[in-house]
Symmetry: C2
Subunit: 493 residues, 2 copies
């Protein structure tokens, strides 16, 4: 475990200058190898006030080729950021594969801010740490290299450093009243730092504590840490990414398949009964959405279902009840190349709505455990851990007050065939069907297994399973279930 | 020209219902053709209060397949938006080619807000309109279809409409005190609307005024306008985009080439003289940047120059004077596929910095009139009009208070050869040279012509022409010229 009492080493000016050229060359080599590496590097530089986080980062930035690096410092959240879950701002900063992001303080700065107020907030701090731990675990699992250094100073060394900075006209502006406040509060902050490191040191994202009393030794230690972590990672990752994918043709959990099989598909509703009820529910949904918006709560709809199950039609009915100005439909197709260069969840984080908005996903992040599982686009280890990641993603949305409504539209294999044929025969529907739809259909049973697992393993936010054999019935169900869920969510808080 | 007194037509319920199915089918067909069309469609729905802009858009949204449409309504600017030039928020909303964006009020809403205060602000309103006119002209020139409808109501009809809305419990919430205020202010607002339409009606982005007194006639007219504009555009564009590119091997303006030829390249500076001066200028630059940040002014550096002219080295010296936390280096390489699907300036608008930040472009938007001109990636008409577009882009940055510092680093053809060879011979520099560099070198003279034209035709924000034959001399020049320009800009206001 990372101890605060990191060794206090000294480095003479002569030794320092002798080491620099080689260090710089290694850093450039790192960047050259990184360019074609299948992972991003995140360097987090955190630590006590006066330890020189900014100086170290400026130095590294000068040593590196600035074209491959980006430095991120987080100022107090903007209003656009406050309207999203706390991790949104960090997601949007993530470097793509092959690039290096250097983080000053990073997500830890905000977590420490949570802890600045006594007792009552301890719970919040703990929660922020566990959120961070999840975040880093997810990045690491995806292959990212996360290097975290904590720059440490003893209380005495910190006092000496702050005084020294104040004594020179060139650096005096760096020392603020906050710095002296944190110096007086040293003991408590030191303990917080220790708690923080303890809670977030995990394989692949360990803290390295570096004593910053000697500036030269500190600089070299940070660069060394980055270099050796990179080399080690580059080697092990090559092994870990070796192929070995295997389509899972057996369910992880049998319950899901059973649930699908037991869903009665014979419910029908006449056209006139449908129209009478539809308007009632559309009106009610409109009211619910407006009530949610008044409370600054967003609603996210997720539509999954068989090809031709009627997702488009159901979405169209839904949007007719919502003011188009506050609503966005996001069809999820193949990722763009920018999206492909990031974690698979990045493209969904990008579109997390502002407060009070409605976002409708026509297909969604569940592609990870459906098409990507079945087509082998995701390795087995990847789609297996995705269930937990998707649960966690949706939990973060919900914790922020976003109401997440999820549908699986279910039809029989025979009904799909009828609809495919109908599409092929109808002029203005022909664009809706292609060879891929027929290909997917041949894998019906494998898909059934994947759907069953999905329904069973991602229900922290529950799924609505909708019988869609009859379109009118399905559309009405979607409206009703949406109303009820939103109403219940609003009643709770 | 668009007159307010658009014809007041009536449509019976029966006739209306008879027309809907065909309209809807045509709209879906529009979307199917649009999918593979090489342009985006922007539908702007503006007009007087109570004319039903929201209703029309909701209706259209229901008729269209929601998967290919996005609706944009602009609420008061967020702080992230206020920190950028006014058009930034609109740029970031632009649909890519093949998609339809529907704008409620759009950029016109904000412009009308500028006009809400008397005399003193008239100038601001005029300016906002000319900015919009430029914006739309640029989109249209790029092939976008911009359809603008203005929903008109006479004062009497407006009063009737507002009362009718108020009388029903279902719609009463739509009528606000603001609506009645604008009703009392009808005459002035009507004139403003006329001024606005007059100033922004141009080929390719004409206003169509639609009388909204009869709701059914209004709905059909909006859909019809969109459909017929689309059909006409789809046909003419196919012709306009026909090939016919031609490399311009003669300069548009001879002065530029002369300016390049006359630049003395023999200035040298010794290593010791350089080091002595460098630190002075680095310190001064650091101070300037901090003074700019204190005034919430961003600085944007643009580095252009021959391959191997030393852009990377100059940038590295520059960044060493800037706090890495406030600085971002953006290397401009090939656009991503998302970027390719938008106007060529979109990717640069994306990265416009927040207030008080420094952004350094390593190559830039000038690729449009350099590599894209020479390689034929841009058609002749495209790169020819780019000079004005680039001037306009930079003017918008400057008007917002951003300081734009532009460099062309110049070396001789012989010096480039020496540097290329040196790169090939030096282990850790080899990654910096490839076949493309050699290919570009063979087109030296054509590039000279393009550079000369660029220097001559894009100097609304002036260029710094830097002799870079001696690297130390060039780096010092970059520091000095940056300091002086920032200092002068801060002195002005």
């Amino acid at each position: 475990m990372a101890k605060s009492g990191a060794k206090r080493t000294k480095l003479s000016k002569k030794d320092y200058e002798a080491r620099i050229p080689a260090l710089r060359e290694q850093l450039i080599q790192l960047q050259v190898s990184l360019k074609s590496a299948p992972f991003p590097v995140l360097l987090v530089v955190a630590g006590v006030e006066g330890s020189g986080k900014g100086v170290v980062i400026n130095l590294l930035n000068g040593w590196l080729d600035p074209r491959g690096v980006e430095v991120f410092a987080f100022h107090p959240p903007t209003d656009e950021e406050r309207e999203r879950p706390p991790m949104w701002r960090y997601w949007r900063s993530l470097p793509p594969r092959g690039r290096l992001g250097i983080y000053v303080g990073s997500w830890y700065t905000e977590a420490l801010r949570e802890a600045s107020v006594p007792r009552a907030r301890r719970e919040k701090f703990r929660h922020a740490l566990s959120r961070i731990e999840h975040f880093e675990r997810l990045l690491v699992a995806d292959g990212a290299l996360v290097v975290k250094v904590w720059l440490h100073l003893s209380k005495t060394d910190q006092g000496v450093r702050l005084k020294k900075l104040e004594s020179s006209a060139r650096t005096a502006w760096r020392v603020t009243a906050d710095d002296w406040r944190s110096h007086r509060d040293y003991k408590r902050l030191d303990e917080l730092g220790r708690t923080l490191r303890q809670a977030t040191s995990r394989t692949g994202a360990r803290w390295r504590v570096i004593n910053a009393a000697d500036e030269r030794a500190r600089n070299v230690a940070v660069a060394d840490t980055l270099l050796s972590a990179f080399l080690a990672h580059h080697q092990t990752l090559a092994k870990r990414l070796a192929p070995g994918r295997r389509l899972a043709t057996t369910p992880l959990r049998p319950e899901g398949l059973r649930r699908l099989a037991e869903l009665p598909l014979d419910k029908r509703i006449t056209s006139s009964a449908y129209e009478a009820k539809r308007d009632k529910w559309l009106g009610r949904l409109n009211e619910m959405i407006r009530r949610a918006a008044a409370k600054h709560r967003s609603v996210v709809f997720v539509f999954e279902g068989w090809d031709a199950a009627g997702k488009g039609g159901a979405i169209r009915r839904l949007t007719s009840a919502i003011d188009a100005r506050d609503c966005r439909v996001i069809p999820v197709a193949k990722p763009t190349d920018e999206e492909k260069a990031h974690h698979y969840l990045w493209r969904f984080w990008r579109h997390v709505p502002r407060a009070g908005m409605v976002t409708i996903y026509d297909r969604s992040w569940y592609g990870r455990v459906l098409v990507e599982r079945l087509e082998g686009f995701a390795r087995e280890a990847e789609w297996r851990r995705a269930y937990a990641e998707l649960n966690d993603f949706e939990t973060q949305l919900e914790e922020h007050g976003i109401i997440v409504v999820k549908f699986w539209l279910h039809i029989s294999k025979a009904e799909q065939l009828r609809r495919f044929r109908h599409r092929e025969e109808t002029e203005y529907k022909r664009h809706k069907i292609n060879a891929e739809d027929w290909r997917n259909r041949r894998k019906w049973h494998q898909y059934e297994i994947a759907v069953g697992d999905m329904l069973t393993l991602t229900r922290e936010v529950p799924w609505h399973l909708v019988a869609a054999e009859d379109k009118r019935h399905a559309r009405l169900q979607v409206l009703k279930l949406s109303c009820r869920q939103i109403e219940a969510a609003l009643a709770q808080g």
